[in-house]
Amino acid sequence: MTSEQIEPGHWRLGFTEPETEFVLSTLARLARQYQDDPGKMPPALRAYWQGIISSKPGEPSAEVRELQDDLAEARTELRSERLALIENWMREFELAEEREPWHVELTTTERDEFIAMLNDRRMALALELSITEEDMEADLAQIPNDGRRAAILEIDVLGHFILVMLGPQIYRGQ
């Protein structure tokens, strides 16, 4: 995968054929999740898609309940907006004359959404399979369950795509 800034505020992403296949499959799965009713999801996934405004245990105050409702409403709108973006990108892919490599041009805002959406998929996979920090650091070959291994691999590959788009960064101040 490649990512280059073609002018201020505009980016051009490039995907080889297997990368395109991988990204399109991720987007298709995400689209399904954006359409699914969080009320019918397992608790951890439901909490992710609806959001939790306060970590305080016990009965929330009326004010916190109001904030919680606002957050859930905003997250529902976000899912609809992201679904619309996926449909646009899918349409762009269908119309693309050249698909090997496939190039897509995005504004910085769209690129940020794309990054956040790939991260949505990583988070959803981890929550669905209760993936822990130990799982993420483990040698893939040592993970016995095929589904779990595939999920961790997908989380890793999407993480790699995200880092390519972010460019080289160094975190300091440990």
Binding site: I52, R122, I131, G159
Partner: protein, 140 residues
């Protein structure tokens, strides 16, 4: 949202009542002021919030007493978290890295202290990037 609308309606009434009460307190009036006409003007089914409740709500909404906290999780990448802090919270690289490490090592970090409205917006934005963010009101 609907509560905000009724708060605004109630707020508009408050200054008028204050003026009348002030006049009543300073100059002896030859007649008694009755608040009933204000109530009669309200459409049927409208509930007037108590004045204290409205003022309290406005005070808490605009007091800078809410903390935004980001919690650790096993999946978000360190570089990604730094990028989100820089993008959403407008932190510089050094502060973003410092808070990222705090989340990673201590399990959480307070990344902002703001009004209720601003904190709510920040939590929404941080969560839109997949970070586990909450907001808590600081003790009075």
């Amino acid at each position: 949202m609907s509560q905000v609308a009724s708060m605004r309606g109630a707020k508009r009434l408050t200054p008028i009542r204050r003026v009348i009460n002030a006049e009543a307190g300073s100059v002896p009036l030859p007649f008694a002021l009755d608040p009933l006409p204000f109530r009669a003007a309200e459409p049927p089914g409208t509930q007037t919030l108590p004045q204290i409740d409205v003022e309290e709500k406005l005070k808490t909404a605009f007091t800078r007493g809410w903390s935004v906290i980001v919690w650790n999780d096993p999946v978000n990448l360190m570089d990604y978290v730094v990028y989100v802090f820089k993008t959403v919270l407008k932190m510089n690289e050094k502060d973003a890295s410092k808070h990222m490490w705090e989340v990673h090592q201590k399990g959480k970090s307070m990344v902002a202290r703001e009004t209720r409205e601003k904190s709510e917006l920040l939590v929404h934005r941080l969560r839109s990037f997949g970070l586990n963010a909450t907001m808590e009101q600081e003790p009075a």
